[in-house]
Amino acid sequence: SQQGEEDPQALSIQEGENATMNCSYKTSINNLQWYRQNSGRGLVHLILIRSNEREKHSGRLRVTLDTSKKSSSLLITASRAADTASYFCATDGLGYQKVTFGTGTKLQVIP
């Protein structure tokens, strides 16, 4: 079964607006990662946040992690048409040797 579940499943915004995607997971983790996938392509790693971190920034990306709620959010500020893609969260499980992915949020940024 999926460890992470993203919300919403789809999001459509105007260029320049901010986009927020959420991820909820079920079991305790070592870290949580966010990936991006352009249609029909492989995934590209965006950011990794460790379980002892609460917030992390990378350019226009801001990720938060709330381990008490088992949730994370990805904020993309000042969105661009090129941000159109699917975004996935990925989590490990304590003691597991693998990373499992959520079902993704499909983001469309309208120029």
Binding site: N30, Y35, G40, G42, L43, K98, V99, G102, K106
Partner: protein, 112 residues
Amino acid sequence: SQTIHQWPATLVQPVGSPLSLECTVEGTSNPNLYWYRQAAGRGLQLLFYSIGIDQISSEVPQNLSASRPQDRQFILSSKKLLLSDSGFYLCAWSRETNTEAFFGQGTRLTVV
């Protein structure tokens, strides 16, 4: 720098035919290797992962198998494809467990 190669990019195979998808990694040693499948518009399902040569863990019962004959080579196989094997297959590697994963460009498999 490290690179990952996955081929072919697209494949159309008849039901009952065999399958062999190959993935190789360059520029690193002893990587963790993964095979994922992605159904249309869905998330990624982990199929197999490997932490070393001939060390393969299967995540879901299925019609597929994986092998790692060399340190940086990971092969996904099937003896007889089913229609339900259609999907987008992604190979990935990571340096260590639970760290950033690097993905190949994927293989779109259509079983007809």
